[in-house]
């Protein structure tokens, strides 16, 4: 790897630490209900919104009402997004005259964007009108990550409170997160992307007559605005089929770093907010460190394998060596300006954050290089995970961690002074088995029901494609081994179901855990308490995550990418 690539990684880590220190306290301030200077700017707008929607901002909700509000909001979101896609032919602002999106695809896309997955069974620039992109898809890009953040913050409040019946107000959390966090960040990042060449206009394709006399369709549309929220909201659903590989989305090495930073920023920063809200900053850094170790592991595997290149191409007389005059490595499906090292860092970050944007084609990565993003998603999106989803995911693993530690010493486990008992552990187990059940079940069902025609690549790589698709959908990531032709009725339906399971079958148990923990008294720490603010606990937590995932998914990894790797020449 070139020295510049190391600097790049170092700069990124430094930016993440700095971003966590700056944004973390701000997010805590947004959600702990304390007064702040930002109230002057946002307060009047927010009160107006509450009035318009008939919401009493002072009234907090019990966990079940909170969950019902969240489910109601998600349901109307799916319905509205479905309707916009079906009616786009008759709606305004459709310069290229796109017709209605077919029913199975519209269902898949609606579920995909509402669950913060952003799996795309279509090419954006040739399917969705600018109206659908702006008024439909981009709105979910804003609110779906904030919904995740609401759940995480409700859980954190539950941990911080004692003998409380309520965990917050969903509508207030939703509005504050959108207005105070997402919108300002998106305006800044959007403008920087535009200054580097991302497009933001209101026309359709421009036709160019190329130098050799062919015609080229140059895309147009309000794309940079969606690009910013695509990354900051860990969404990943781009307006262009090539996603962040496209120069109109990601123009150079600087925008690439900005994109990676944007998607890692909020997921890492909220660990600090967590520490602030429970008044024990070390607990936050333990989660930060665990996420960082898992993320760096994925970066190392993906980058290392891609920079080494594809051994199968040696016989063709191709040089893949990294030199001063070429980026080198495995360049199929990659852009010259990012190179194979840039692909590795992006791939690990996009799959670790449930984003799913790509700056290189994951399907064309080397077998083990491509296994890195796959395994990263299988961790359950905690490295560092999606906006909000990463924090509540790792907190669930922390509960499992103290439970296992408690079993070893024979004591009732505690986390932050809250006793973890049978009721919570049942919900933790439901959380942990729901997604693997959907991923492995649907993968196996796809293969035995003869839905193999969608697979592009032969051999073990084909299994990887299907497993990757369901892992991505189940973990609400949305990145793809693009060779899988997912636009069939079978995949549109089953991938959609996986996304619903991976979203709501996790959110509801988490909120139930929050309700149960909020009611408990805090027991004071004693000499028998297992401390969770130490490097030892970070190590235990990392181990628990890797072992649980390893036991669940190793067979499918062995049959897919590992077999393919062993067969390399």
């Amino acid at each position: 790897m070139a020295a510049a690539s190391w600097f790049q990684l170092l700069a990124l880590v430094a930016l993440i630490v700095a971003g966590t220190r700056v944004l973390g306290p701000y997010v805590a301030n947004v959600y702990d209900g304390s007064a702040s200077r930002a109230d002057k700017v946002f307060g009047p707008v927010e009160r107006r919104i509450y009035r318009l929607c008939g919401i009493d901002e002072e009234r907090e909700q019990r966990w079940n009402t909170y969950a019902l509000s969240l489910l109601a909001f998600s349901l109307v979101s799916v319905l509205l997004l479905f309707a916009i896609q079906r009616l786009q032919g008759s709606l305004p602002f459709n310069p290229d005259g796109f017709g209605a999106v077919p029913v199975p695809l519209a269902w898949n896309t609606a579920v995909s964007f509402v669950t913060n997955t952003n799996w795309q069974n279509y090419a954006g620039e040739t399917t969705m009108s600018p109206f659908t992109q702006m008024v439909g898809l981009a709105v979910q890009n804003f609110v779906s990550p904030v919904v995740g953040l609401c759940v995480a913050m409700a859980l954190v409040r539950a941990l911080a409170r004692r003998r409380a019946g309520t965990i917050g107000n969903f509508w207030v959390d939703l509005v504050r997160g959108t207005l105070r966090i997402m919108v300002p960040l998106c305006i800044v990042v959007g403008l920087v992307l535009i200054s580097q060449g991302a497009i933001q206009n209101l026309h359709g394709f421009t036709t160019a007559r190329t130098l050799q006399g062919a015609t080229q369709a140059i895309p147009g549309g309000p794309f940079a605005s969606q690009e910013a929220v695509k990354m900051l909201g860990t969404n990943g659903g781009g307006t262009l089929n090539a996603n962040s590989m496209h120069p109109f989305a990601n123009a150079n090495g600087f925008t690439d770093l900005l994109q990676i930073f944007s998607l890692l920023l909020i997921p890492f920063a909220v660990t600090f907010s967590f520490g602030r809200m429970i008044k024990d900053q070390r607990q936050g850094w333990v989660l930060f460190a665990t996420m960082m170790v898992l993320w760096l592991g994925a970066v190392a595997l993906a980058t290392g394998m891609e920079v080494k290149g594809n051994p199968e191409l040696r016989q063709a007389g191709v040089t893949q060596v990294v030199t001063a005059t070429q980026g080198g490595g495995n360049m199929e499906g990659k852009e010259v300006r990012f190179g194979s090292a840039g692909c590795g860092v992006f791939a690990a970050s996009t799959t670790g954050t449930s984003t799913g944007a790509v700056n290189c084609a994951h399907d064309s990565m080397t077998p083990l290089g491509g296994m890195a993003p796959l395994a990263n998603m299988m961790l359950g999106e905690v490295s560092p995970g999606g906006v909000g989803a990463g924090l509540y995911g790792i907190l669930v693993f922390a509960l499992l961690g103290v439970f296992i530690a408690g079993l070893m010493v024979g004591r009732t486990p505690e986390y932050l002074g809250k006793k973890i008992q049978a009721a919570e552990m049942k919900l933790v187990v439901l959380y942990i088995v729901a997604v693997p059940f959907a991923v492995l079940g649907f993968t196996a069902a796809s293969l035995v029901t003869g839905n193999k025609a969608s697979i592009l690549n032969p051999g073990p790589h084909g299994l990887s494609e299907v497993a990757y698709g369901f892992t991505s959908a189940g973990n609400n990531n949305g990145s793809a081994f693009g060779g899988l032709a997912g636009a069939t009725d079978w995949y549109n339906t089953t991938l959609g179901l996986s996304m619903l399971i991976g979203r709501f079958l996790l959110i509801v148990p988490v909120l139930a855990i929050a309700g149960s923990l909020a009611r408990k008294q805090r027991v004071p720490a004693s000499s028998g308490t297992f401390p969770t603010g130490t490097p030892l606990f970070a190590g235990l937590l990392t181990g628990v995550i890797l072992i649980v995932v390893g036991l669940t998914y190793f067979p499918v990894l062995a049959l897919g990418p590992i077999v393919e790797h062993l067969g390399l020449s």
Binding site: F73, E125, G197
Partner: protein, 226 residues
């Protein structure tokens, strides 16, 4: 259940309010700011020759003639990559010209099915990928008069991610320079100097990888030769 149905109305109102805010006000405000501050970039960094749009400095386009530097192979739609497509007869067979070569024509960009960007998605061990790379490497050596067995830079024979990669590696451009110089009747040194001039380094010296912009290089070469 009644609690749930009671949530539906506020949910719908909230969604509509946030749609106006995030789906209308935000993109329009950003479009306004973009057009004020960065108009040319926000419109796609279009490159014009004699007032006519010939492409975008951020997007690669296809070059096949020997007098041009060639872009990387593309798997994007022919309209997206600006590729010529074979002329087909009523039976779907390629029409040949007087020299027995397949006739080509510009792609129909009005058919949006041709206009999507994207990559091949071929897996690393797929025989189709390996065969395509071998074929491209052989063709690359032949058109650039390179001895058999010359190692070809990997970017020259692999498909890009977007299908519209605007750049090629410096190594790739240097190997093509003698051919372009010969066809254009220019000294090789002058063409190599143009390659240097159109090499875009790492941003801030350490971000990304250096590359040569093929469209702007070809424009300069054509200008130097005329």
């Amino acid at each position: 259940m009644r609690t749930f149905t009671r949530q539906l109305l506020p949910a719908l109102r909230m969604l509509l309010v946030l749609t106006v805010l995030c789906g209308v006000a935000y993109p329009l405000a950003l479009t306004g700011l973009a057009q004020l501050g960065f108009g040319a970039k926000a419109d796609g960094s279009l490159v014009r020759v004699d007032g006519r749009v010939v492409g975008s400095s951020l997007l690669g386009q296809e070059f096949t003639g020997a007098e041009w530097f060639h872009s990387r192979p593309s798997s994007a739609g022919a309209g997206a990559s600006g590729s010529m497509v074979p002329v087909l007869d009523a039976d779907g067979k390629a029409v040949l010209d007087a020299d027995g070569q397949p006739k080509v024509e510009p792609a129909d960009v009005a058919d949006v099915a041709n206009d999507a960007s994207g990559s091949s998605n071929l897996g690393p061990t797929n025989p189709d990928l390996i065969a395509a790379v071998e074929e491209r490497a052989t063709a690359y050596r032949a058109e650039n008069d390179l001895p058999k067995g010359t190692a070809v830079p990997v970017d020259a024979v692999t498909g890009s991610g977007s299908g519209v990669d605007p750049q090629i590696s410096v190594a790739n451009a240097r190997l093509q320079a003698p051919r372009v110089a010969r066809e254009r009747g220019l000294p090789v040194a002058e063409v190599l100097a143009l390659v240097r001039a159109h090499t875009q380094g790492r941003t801030l010296g350490f971000l990304g990888e250096p590359g040569v912009n093929v469209l702007t290089l070809n424009l300069s070469v054509a200008e130097a030769a005329s």
